[in-house]
Amino acid sequence: MAGTIKFELVSPERILMSVEAEQVIVPGAEGQFTVLAGHAPVVSTLLPGIIQVTTPNSKEAIFVRSGFAEVSGEQLTILAERAFIVEEADPRQLNHELDLARQALNGAETDDARFHVNRAIAELQALVDDAA
């Protein structure tokens, strides 16, 4: 492992998470990508999906509805309009997100976008099933 990268998850209401991460998998608009330390500067929008954060001690999964990610030097900042940690989510919230994702699917214009939203729906569905 080539060191860690500072990962910040910021929602409009507050900073949700600020940790040193080894790797972060981000559901980017043009495909999932993994951010490791020393990643090239990128700005990307996000699609609904799950961010997987690997810190030296733990793994976290966070659901984001939409937002964008900014990688600059040693820092990854994700600005998410709506985000919650998957483990802490309650089923009602998940169902609500699922509905929204389905709406997003109808609005999706390109095959790529549809593919991603479909994946997000599948991920959410799995979570809902787990919770039930």
Partner: protein
């Protein structure tokens, strides 16, 4: 001269009022702290957003093709004024100051021959403008029954704004709210949302510390800029709502503080005249007894 009984009743009633205003002041103080915390917690998001936007806008190659959110529709015939006020009164000049600013700007725009539309957030401002500008209020958003403003409300307002802009209902959009400067000072402010007024990209403070390396953009810069500008609208509206919430509580706190002090002054004065009159009555009774005894 009111009788002793009347005076006593008045003192009791003012005391009851003072209790209420005191309680309201304390509630406002507690809410103010929470509102301030919320405003502070929202800052990192807005700052990041500003920084990225400024960077992107700097790179816009040809302004003609840029998003209308950034450069406008090319005309400024119709203005949308978003007026943010509170749902409740009893907070000093808070609501009327915002309404005054909106009215002033609205009248000026009308004089210039522009069309205006007003989106009223919160009941109090709409009530204030109802008489002379009521016809221009095209839409209302109620914040009643909410414990604290969340991003959901901001999104809701932003969706309305974006839908209206998409239908070309207006060309320029300005949001009016009260900027929270301190507990005793809240300043009604207008902030132009569309076309966006971006922070100066040349500002060094806004530069991210990546050693000036060029960003890669996914998807294309134009697309991302457009999306960010959309998001920026809800962010700015959210900021306005939060500032407004803090201002409201600050204004209410100082208004209720002076009301409490006023009530205390009044109680002192009334107590003084009550005691004086009581004393006068005792003296009068004594004189009656003494002169009665002397007459014997």
């Amino acid at each position: 001269m009111p009788s002793l009984k009347e005076l006593r009743n008045r003192i009791n009633s003012v005391k009851a009022t003072r209790k209420i205003t005191k309680a309201m002041q304390m509630v406002a103080a507690a809410k103010l702290r929470r509102a301030q915390e919320a405003a502070e917690a929202s800052r990192p998001y807005a700052e990041r957003m500003d920084a990225v936007l400024a960077n992107l806008a700097k790179g816009v190659a040809n302004p003609e093709n840029a998003s209308p959110l950034l450069v406008g529709t090319g005309k400024d015939d119709t203005h949308l004024l978003i007026m943010m006020t509170a749902e409740r009164g009893l907070c000093g000049g808070f609501n009327s100051n915002i309404a005054k600013l909106v009215r002033q700007n609205a009248l000026e725009l009308l004089r210039e021959g522009k069309k205006i539309k007003i989106l009223a957030v919160g009941r109090k401002g709409a009530d204030n403008l109802k008489r002379d500008l009521g016809n221009y209020i095209t839409d209302r958003v109620s914040l009643a029954g909410l414990k604290s403003v969340g991003f959901e409300q901001a999104s809701e307002i932003a969706d309305k704004v974006m839908a209206g802009f998409g239908d070309e209902e207006f060309d320029v959009c300005t949001v009016y709210f009260s900027r929270f400067e301190s507990v005793i000072s809240q300043k009604p402010t207008g902030l132009q949302l569309i076309p966006a007024r971006l922070p100066d990209a040349g500002d060094d403070a806004a530069e991210p510390d990546n050693g000036g390396a060029a960003y890669e953009y996914e998807p294309e810069e134009d697309v991302i800029l457009d999306q960010l500008l959309r998001r920026n609208i809800s962010t700015q509206i959210f900021r306005g709502l939060l500032e407004n919430a803090a201002s409201e509580q600050g204004a209410r706190m100082s208004a209720m503080d002076s009301a409490t002090r006023n009530a205390s002054d009044m109680i002192d004065k009334l107590t003084l005249s009550y005691n004086r009159q009581r004393q006068a009555q005792i003296t009068k009774e004594l004189i009656e007894i003494i002169s009665g005894a002397e007459a014997l």
